[in-house]
């Protein structure tokens, strides 16, 4: 019986991507919480180049990078497919997943910057949301995946949950429902899906941790 282990960190959206995929496919796994300020020797052994989470261990074989893990999971466990079967539709899905991967770091950058730099990042975030609103949710689809969520929906989790929390924390207003009606519907729909709803980090806990992290960041910047 194959053993599946996931090394993750409770605050990381990339970690949740993998958790949701495993749960959607009904795969049993052991979760190991990593303290990112004190990484375990196991993590360093399994991801020596980037030393990052998430790392999936399948039969002692490590797979790194959340998108790579998602694609691997989808291939090994084909039930509840997370990517379209048609090659062209799959290529379009992969395009949006790459877009999500390229742009998601902006959201965490929002909380790591301030002043003019933060304004510039906020503008880039706004532009990213505009692209999604205009190009990705056409045809009145409920989800990026159509009637059910798929890997593209999962890939945009930062927009669905983390952006709102960081905006609250930083006192920014980038996403406004009336400016992004399609995206707003998608966020409501996405967060209502049981697997997602039941597996999201608690907002208050997130805010408390963000506050501590930011204090540490500012302290190290001024020293």
């Amino acid at each position: 019986m194959a053993v599946v282990k996931l090394f993750g960190a409770w605050l990381s959206p990339y970690c949740y991507r993998v958790i949701w995929a495993l749960k959607l496919k009904g795969i049993a796994y052991e979760y190991i919480e990593e303290d990112l300020s004190n990484k375990s020797p196991l993590l360093l052994q399994y991801n020596p180049i980037h030393k990052k989470i998430p790392v999936l261990l399948h039969d002692d074989k490590p797979i790194c990078e959340s998108t790579v893990i998602l694609r691997y999971i989808d291939e090994i466990w084909p039930q509840n497919p997370l990517l379209p079967a048609d090659p062209h539709e799959r290529a379009v899905a992969l395009f949006w997943i790459k877009f999500a991967d390229d742009k998601s770091p902006l959201i965490s950058k929002l909380f790591r910057t301030d002043g003019e730099e933060q304004q510039a990042v906020a503008k880039e975030c706004f532009e990213m949301l505009e692209v999604l609103e205009e190009h990705a949710l056409i045809g009145g689809k409920k989800f990026f995946g159509g009637d059910e969520i798929n890997m593209v929906d999962i890939a945009f989790c930062s927009v669905a949950h983390w952006l709102g929390v960081i905006e609250d924390f930083a006192g920014l207003k980038i996403f406004e429902p009336h400016k992004f009606p399609r995206l707003n519907s998608w966020i409501q729909n996405f967060k209502s899906v049981p697997v997602i709803k039941d597996n999201l980090p608690d907002t208050d806990k997130m805010l408390a941790l963000l506050k501590r992290r930011r204090e540490m960041l500012l302290a190290s910047k001024s020293s």
Binding site: H58, K61, I63, E65, V68, I69, R71, Y72, E75, I76, P87, H88, R90, A91, V92, L94, F95, K98, F99, V131, H135
Partner: protein, 217 residues
């Protein structure tokens, strides 16, 4: 139904070359359309409205954007000839080409776009990254093992730019990474690669023009 394949491209593009190679490996007939990036065609803007960039692969009227996605698409649709990706899911997961895009491309750009100390730093980091990739290759004939594969396709286009990097940065890549150059020359013996890569001198002349345009001496 006849297959219609069009590639919107720009001759020195490292990314366009990847798709050219993949199409050639599979023996696919296609129409190559050269784009003027200062005056992008209506077709390009329609087919890649999000990024407005080349290369764009258009298969029976439907666009596929992003070079690595194109290579995967080509490998999937024309799967009966010259497979580029491993069939084993775990091997597929460990075949990674995005390091090349994130690191090598950016560092190489800095080598020709900067001068003085900034360039010296870029050169050092560029060589370090090439050495890491050389280590990945090891003693294998190709990154894919015994046969030419996905990572080879992703990386060989950079060889056409090596001469330009070397002249701009005043260094020899062969002296630093001889195994990598041996691998590149091995790839160049394949018709699909030789036909898809532009002449190195031509690329250097293009870079010199770009430098003038950007005011970098």
């Amino acid at each position: 139904m006849a297959e219609e394949v069009v590639l919107l491209d720009f001759w020195p593009s490292l990314f366009g070359m990847r798709s050219r190679i993949a199409l050639a490996e599979k023996g696919i007939k296609y129409e190559y359309k050269e784009e003027d990036l200062r005056n992008k065609s209506a077709l390009l803007l329609q087919m890649n409205p999000v990024h407005k960039k080349i290369p764009v692969l258009i298969h029976n009227g439907k666009p596929v954007c992003e070079s690595l996605i194109q290579v995967q698409y080509i490998d999937e649709v024309w799967h009966d000839k010259a497979p580029l990706l491993p069939s084993d899911p775990y091997q597929k997961a460990t075949v990674r080409a995005d390091y090349i895009d994130k690191k090598i491309y950016d560092l190489g750009s800095r080598v020709w776009k900067t001068k003085g100390e900034e360039q010296a730093t870029a050169k050092k980091e560029f060589i370090e990254s090439l050495k890491l990739i050389e280590k990945e290759l090891g003693d294998k004939p190709y990154f894919g093992g015994e046969s030419f594969g996905y990572v080879d396709v992703a990386f060989i286009p950079f060889y056409s730019w090596f001469y330009a990097y070397e002249k701009c940065g005043n260094f020899s890549i062969e002296a630093e990474c001889p195994k990598l150059i041996a691998w590149a020359k091995r790839c160049m013996q394949k018709e699909s690669v030789a036909k898809s890569l532009p002449d190195q001198q031509k690329v250097y002349d293009f870079i010199l023009q770009m430098k003038k345009h950007f005011g970098i001496e």
